[in-house]
Symmetry: C2
């Protein structure tokens, strides 16, 4: 199980993930990590910016990290996929 | 005309933009800014990571900024689009 303050971005509508991030902030977390791979990276950026602009105006994007992950796409085949983590924080 | 050390990411194949970034580093620039909007954000991340992993190993991703831009999508309609700038640098 991932820790509570990580939101993994998949293929659902953007607002589903915004709600997940907002819920974590509203339940007392001061930091939420938004993680995505491949095409979902765009959605991760959208989620962070919508959260900040429309719901949690105090939240700041503290850090954005990117790296490459190797993933299996078949029995013998592997490919590289870009990955991202956006760290959002409500400063004390 | 944008300054020489900006590469705008569009819809061309990823390697076209990698080549543009590598060319700017090889022509003496120590900083290259990779900019993208919307779905091209994924490609911008790919370009930065491929440049670093396969061509300019000294280059580091110094900063990643994201923000929202309002763009016209018709005569009267406007929409918000996520934008990104990746700052790549070869440290002295």
């Amino acid at each position: 199980m991932p820790p509570d303050n990580v939101v993994f971005i998949g293929k659902k509508p953007t607002m589903n993930y915004v709600l997940a991030v907002v819920t974590q902030f509203n339940s007392g977390n001061r930091t939420v990590n938004i993680k995505a791979r491949g095409k979902a990276i765009v959605r991760a950026v959208d989620v962070a910016l919508i959260t900040q602009r429309r719901f949690i105006e105090d939240a700041v994007i503290e850090d954005i990290k990117v790296w490459t992950e190797e993933v299996a796409i078949g029995d013998d085949e592997r490919t590289n996929v870009s990955s991202m983590e956006i760290v959002m924080t409500i400063p004390e």
